[in-house]
Amino acid sequence: MKTILSTVIVLLFGLQAAVAEAADAYVPKVYGKKGYVWDEMTPERVQVLKQKGDPVNGKEAFRGCQGCHKSDAAGVREGVYPRLSGQHASVLIKQITEIRAGIRKNPKMLPFVQDPAISVQEIGDIAEYLSTLTSYRENGKGPEDLSAKGEKLFMTNKCYTCHGKHGEGNAEKSYPVVAAQHYGYLIREMNLIRTGVRGNSNPDMVKAISGFKQSDMDAVADYLSRLPDYRTVNATPNPALVVPESSSAAK
């Protein structure tokens, strides 16, 4: 027991060292451990949110991410790497800073978002760039259309409370867009969140999907993967392209 405790302590100190210099006193708390606070405003996250993200710099900084997430940020259809295009900047900032802080466990991605791969400023720049990007590659969908069952589960379990009725998430509260995400990625992350392995699980979501069978997760993932890009649903018509009533009447 003592050795486990000391290992954890050593680990925590190691993680702390990885956090930016501004976060000297900060110790990450992971889901399932004492003191875990979901959606904690870590010092680095606060710092990034305060800065104005520059999408031009973001495009350049994103080059180091393209090897996995592709040049249009479409990720991989099989869902090994998620689609990032159109994701809320606040969500991307939350996830990147939590991975850097060691709250979200993502050893595959960590070396590419740690210093010196990207700086604190570049986190916001990349997030800003991706939030307006549109992928030209299609997302991966389930092997069979389970969207009717998936939609029912999504509604009865009130997933829309956070993720929105069109899977559009909530930029203000850092809830991710889940519409048109890869089927494989959605299933993987649901499992990682429910088991807590992801490290930054939302306890409300763990509760909401705790009763899900694997087939239920497949159905919800399939439903979300078939939703259109939320931006096409919520798009307000460009005033420059709207034909005035008088001119349409003249026709």
């Binding site: 180091g64 393209q66 791969a117």
Partner: protein, 249 residues
């Protein structure tokens, strides 16, 4: 005093010997390949400066004891590089990089890193001591302006596997695809070097050195992070593919 003179003399001798060996090996390599496509490519390669073709024709003339009177300081300097990298920067020695068509800024970074010791290589670290930093700009400009030659591979299966890694990465080990940073056709830029036609053995050596951390002058540490996720076989495959990679039209 006498001792000092002797050691200086020894150093000079060593340098002369080193240069002779380098040019002899270059000359040897050229003779070896004289009947092969590589040599004809080199000969046919565009050489915008007259100096370059002179160097190709008479590498022996570069020996310090018999300097060619007509050469400008820059042309003379080019001969030093040409011994290992070929006059047009398309080295035919497998361990040496092709410099032709690399981004000027990228070449400058490497030259400065060799000079400062941030990048090391037994031969290059010795040679760079003979070159003044003021010369770097012209050298970088010259080699970046040369056309990169592409190789032909006799290992189609390795090339095919390498293409997969170059374009998709390795899913199991989460190694990112090369084209993410180096561009879809490997054209590269100032931060990430051009990979087209690069000598396969050189690429394998660099990936190995990035993996071990022996080479650590990569932009933002990205190449080291990627190389750690490649095994020897994958390195060989991706290097073989790069040697055949053509620039997009």
């Amino acid at each position: 005093m006498k001792h000092k003179t002797n050691s200086n003399g020894l150093q000079v001798c060593t340098f002369i010997a080193l240069i002779c060996v380098l040019f002899m090996s270059a000359a040897h390599a050229e003779t070896m390949q004289s009947n092969e496509a590589a040599a004809s490519e080199v000969a046919a390669a565009p050489t915008p400066e007259a100096a370059a073709s002179e160097v190709a024709a008479t590498p022996e003339a570069t020996a310090p004891e018999a300097p060619a009177v007509a050469l400008s300081p820059f042309e003379e300097r080019l001969q030093l590089c040409a011994g290992c990298h070929n006059p047009d920067g398309n080295s035919i020695i497998p361990e040496n990089p092709r410099l032709a068509g690399l981004d000027k800024k990228y070449i400058l970074i490497q030259l400065r890193d060799f000079k400062s010791g941030d990048r090391t290589n037994a031969t290059m670290s010795a040679i760079i001591q003979m070159v003044d930093e003021k010369e770097f700009e012209d050298l970088a400009k010259y080699f970046s302006g040369q056309k990169r030659q592409i190789s032909v591979s006799e290992k189609p299966e390795l090339v095919e596997q390498g293409k997969q890694i170059f374009e998709e990465g390795v899913i199991g080990s989460a190694a990112p695809a090369c084209m993410g940073c180096h561009g879809e056709d490997g054209s590269g830029d100032a931060k990430f070097p051009r990979l087209q036609g690069q000598n396969a053995q050189y690429v394998v050596n660099q990936l190995t050195n990035f993996k071990s951390g022996e080479r650590a002058n990569d932009a933002k540490g990205l190449m080291r992070a990627v190389a750690k996720r490649l095994n020897e076989q994958e390195m060989a495959a991706v290097a073989e593919y790069m040697s055949t990679l053509k620039e997009a039209e």
